[in-house]
Every structure is written in C-alpha cells, then in structure tokens.
Symmetry: C2
Subunit: 339 residues, 2 copies
Amino acid sequence: MTTKASRATISDVAKAANTGKTSVSRYLNGEKHLLSPPLLERIEKAIADLDYRPSQMARGLKRGRTRLIGLIIADITNPYSVNVLSGIEAACREKGFTPLVCNTNNELDQELHYLDLLRSYQVEGIVVNAVGMREEGLSRLQQSALPMVLIDRKIPDFACDVVGLDNSQAATTATEHLIEQGFEALLFLSEPLGTVNTRQERLKAFRHTAERYPGVVAQNAETPLHETERLDNILRQFHQQYRGIRKAVMSANGALTLQVARSLKRIGLHWGADIGLLGFDELEWAELAGVGITTLKQPTWQIGYAALEQVVKRIEGHEETVREQVFSGELIVRGSTAR
Amino acid sequence: MTTKASRATISDVAKAANTGKTSVSRYLNGEKHLLSPPLLERIEKAIADLDYRPSQMARGLKRGRTRLIGLIIADITNPYSVNVLSGIEAACREKGFTPLVCNTNNELDQELHYLDLLRSYQVEGIVVNAVGMREEGLSRLQQSALPMVLIDRKIPDFACDVVGLDNSQAATTATEHLIEQGFEALLFLSEPLGTVNTRQERLKAFRHTAERYPGVVAQNAETPLHETERLDNILRQFHQQYRGIRKAVMSANGALTLQVARSLKRIGLHWGADIGLLGFDELEWAELAGVGITTLKQPTWQIGYAALEQVVKRIEGHEETVREQVFSGELIVRGSTAR
DNA sequence: CTGTTAGCGCCTTCAA
DNA sequence: TTGAAGGCGCTAACAG
C-alpha cells in the first residue's frame, strides 16, 4: 500500500470503484440493497484498498447529526463518576454515539468553557454529572435546549430528565440498619447541603426514619470535603457528646467516607469498636480498612447506561414528559456496623 | 432573545452585522487588527445577540485541523489512568485541544473500534495508555502515521514517543528500601510479564538490586489480576517457604496491590507484622489499610501533562527524533514495611 | 439501479 | 480595510 499524503475521500473511492459518489454514499449508509452486486463489490474493494473512512466532520456538517454526546463530569477522579461513565460509554457504543468527555474539575469557568465547547462541536445531547454545577452553567444549558439528562441531581426550576439513586429508599435502609444494630446516636454527615437534592433527600429520609424510633437521637453536620480540622472536631465532639451509648456516623458519599475514615484514624477512634460507620457508595477498599466499612452500593454502571438511553430517546424525539428514573441501592454490611 | 429553531451561522452574523462573512471569519480568527473599530463592534454585538458559536465541524472540514486529540485508555476504572487523564485534560485546555476519550476496557475489538472512530473524527493526534494493547491495534496505529505518544509502555519495533515512570530508578529505590528495613526474602509480584516493558523493567531492576546484597533472596511470580486462588497460593507458599525470616512482597501496580491485600487478608496474614508489603502506585486508602501500605507514588498528573505536550509538539511538526521521557517516583513509607 | 448537482458552515485566495 | 467566490467531504434531492 502506498503511503498517501492525506486520507482518501469519498471521491477517491468513487473513482477507484469507477462509479459516482452517490453510490458510495449509499453503500456507507446501509442502503446496499439498492446496489447491484458487482458495483457493491467494486466499492467494497476500493474502500478496503484505500483504507477509507468517511469523515465524521463532513457528515456532521451535512446532516446536522454528529453522533456526538457531551458528558460533563464534575470530578473524574471520583470513582462514582468513573463507574457511571463506564456505563455511559457502553451504551454509547451500543447506540452508535461517541462520548465527548469533559471534566470540569468542579470549577465554574471550566464548566462554562466546556458547555461552549460542546455546543461548538454540535453534540446532539448532553449527560451531566455535576454535583457542584453552578446556576450560571445550568441556565446556559437550559437555553441551549439540547437533549439533556442529569445524573444524580435534580435542580429546582429546571425541568429535565434525571436518573439516579432512590435516595429515600437507600437512606431509609441504611438508617434502619444502624438502628437494628443497636446504635442509638446517629450522625448524618455530608458536604454542605446547599441545594443539592441528593444530600437533602438522604438527610430527610435519615431524619424521618430515625424519628420512628424513640430513644434514637439523630443529628447531622455539614463539612467541606477538605477541611480536616473541622471534620476532626465534628467527630470528636459527637463522640464525646454520647459517651456511654452506641453511636454511628453515616457519610453521604464515598469521597466523604474516605475523609471520615482518615479523620477517625487521626483522632484515634476505631470504627466498629468505638463508633459505627456507614457510607454511601461502595469503595474498593471497604473490606480492607480495619474491620471493614459498611457501604450502600449504588448500581453506578446501570445508572450511566440508563442515562444515556434516556438522552438518546430524547434525541430521537420520543418526547414524552420529563422523566425521573431511580435505582435502588444495596447495603453491604461489614465490620464497621457490627454489634 | 428569540428561540431560533437552529443555531446561528456565520452568515447570520454577517447579515446582522451588515457585512460579509469574511470579516466575521477574520474576527473569529483573531485578525481583529484588520477590522475597523465600528465594524468590529457591530460584529461583536451580532455574535452576542445571536449567541453564535462557530461550528467546529465546518472549521475542521475546511482547515483539516479539528483540534481534537484521541485518548485511548485501557481501563478508565484504574486510578492511575484517571490521574494521568486529568493531567492530559489540563494540558488540552491550555493548548486549545479537546480530548476524545476512549475507554477500551481492555478488549481488543473495542480498541480497533475506537481506533477507527478516532480516525473518522480526524483527530490530530493520539495518546495511548493501553497496557494491554494488542499488536493488531498497534500495527493499525502505526499505519495511520498520526502523531502519537505512548504512556507507560514502550513497544518493541515500534518507534514512538513514550512518557512514563523511571521504572529502573523506582524499582531500585523500592527494593533498597525493603532491604534496608531488614527484609531478606523478597517476592516481586506482577501480572504476566508478556512483553509489557514496565513490568519487565521493574522486575529487572528489582533483581539487579537484590543481587548486590548477599543473603537476600529474590524471586518473582506472575498472576492474572483476578485469579484469586492462584494469588492466595503464591502468597501462602512464599510465606511458608521462608518461615523463620523476614520477607516482603513488592506488587508491580496499584490494581494488583489491592488484590494482594485482599489475598493476605483471606489467608490470614497481616502486612507489617507477618509480611512486608510495598506497592507501585499510590492508593488513596493506603494509610487506612491495617498499619498502612508503603507505596511508590508516580507523578501521574505530570506524566499526562507531558504526554500531551509531546503530541502537540509532533502535531506542530517539531519533528525531532523519537523521544523518551521519564519521571521519578517517590517512595511513601508506611507501616507495611516497618521494622 | 445509478449519476449529477447543490449546498451544509467555514476559511482563504483574490480583487476591489 | 472589506467582500465575493470557490471548495473542504459528504448527503440528499432529482433526474436518467
């Protein structure tokens, strides 16, 4: 094969196959049944010979369909997001879309930057997993009127498909588990609630459940992820406040659970022995940390897969009304909540 | 603002600004100094009014520069890859490129699929982090003659820029550390060596270093990541073989370290007490697992950043000869290798 | 069944 | 300093 300076185009193929561009185009678009066997064969050969691949750029330009889907991820370093991403990708491949992954790193300007970028590449839809997403970004998103689905986050005054965990069910299950295990003082720990519905819903179900059990005290605290001293203080105080009785901490997400575990270690408390611990999101190291950490595992892959299916539905125009899709979590019990 | 059915084009802007497309194009391409202040202002306003964004598709088609860079990641679930990705992304943003992330999930057909895909989107360069990449994919890559850099993997008979860890230095440091800590029987554990240079280089330096110390026995074993029984056996046997003396395991990467830790737990051995443990790649949970696990941390972000810089250099045509760039690792000592 | 033609949105000579 | 015209690679009428 000769090393062509630049890539072969549809015209090259047409020429090589001794035909017109249209037939080649038809071949490419699965309308092979309209072509006579000999022509078809010539085209096939030409394509193989020239190692031809149609230009998505040109296609996109012409048809207005780029088969591109934008993914906005707040923090690609977060295992939760990565697993969701994995499901999205699988679905993309199945449906013939290509994901354009954008990691906003939780920074507003990057969010805006990427939103523009996605528009300029004419993505046909967007999947957003941006817990921290700011209003500004969202309003811009809303204007764009692009098919979009949110993962793990509802937004007030923003009608949009959502897929995520059944927070209420999950938090209820988790709380009941703690109570059943004999914990009588419960602390729900999360990053600042803000308007993040996930956190709010989990907290609400936590409270609601605890209330059903007299004799159980439930409180909550908020802390930014990386203010270690503050976290140390919260935990230390919680521990001291309930000296004699069995107490447990429930952490609202995986990243926070990591911080909590570190904090407990710093202040010399052992989960399982001195204090109970249960965290949302499964952690690959959960069984290795001390006596193990009980987690509430989310079906992350499925969530991602479902999210993509949903954008595609919108893209294809199956309008319907705004839809919310929730999945159940699964409690994985380990030493940190043992009796 | 009226809700336009479809997006504004350059013609719309030209019309709105009462000028020709050329001037708008000039504006977009930073040739503003060629435009008269009033015209410039009109254009600016028109763009803002119409919320216009130039179509990258059309641009790419015209100029042949898509500003797209393909990333092939063997396993996006691997924290190492994710951190590298993070560095790549940062560099992309800085240089004005957009990453097209492809997760091959360690499967050959997906590798091939994505390679085609990237070509069809006319990416200008590729960064590959595919430890498991098969020959078939590589040869196709080679034919494409696209600017490309490999991360963390050299490939025989395949001239290509590479950026990664200084494996020799890192493994030497790690091995010396173990020996200094008084371990006298050393086991280097890796996934099957195959032709994966990373593993081979690390093993080689390990061996080489150990040989300098008489009285130290060094051996190695290979195991697929998920054959738990096999791993259990290897570790159990190693433990029994050197009953009386201090021994340590060195794990060739983070994913394997996780498996090793699980295995040790299963067979009832405690790292730090019964057996030493040191793993390549830093783990977020390293300090939480038992007495802590000593790791050799790679400057992952920098590796990613450097890799992207390198493709960009190639894209810009700074030819030079094939280049290999290595970074040093950093040993983070924890309880698993304490005396 | 097959080929011709006219753009998709943009950039780039070339003239004015 | 500005604008008109042609074409990048492809698809979609519209004719044969």
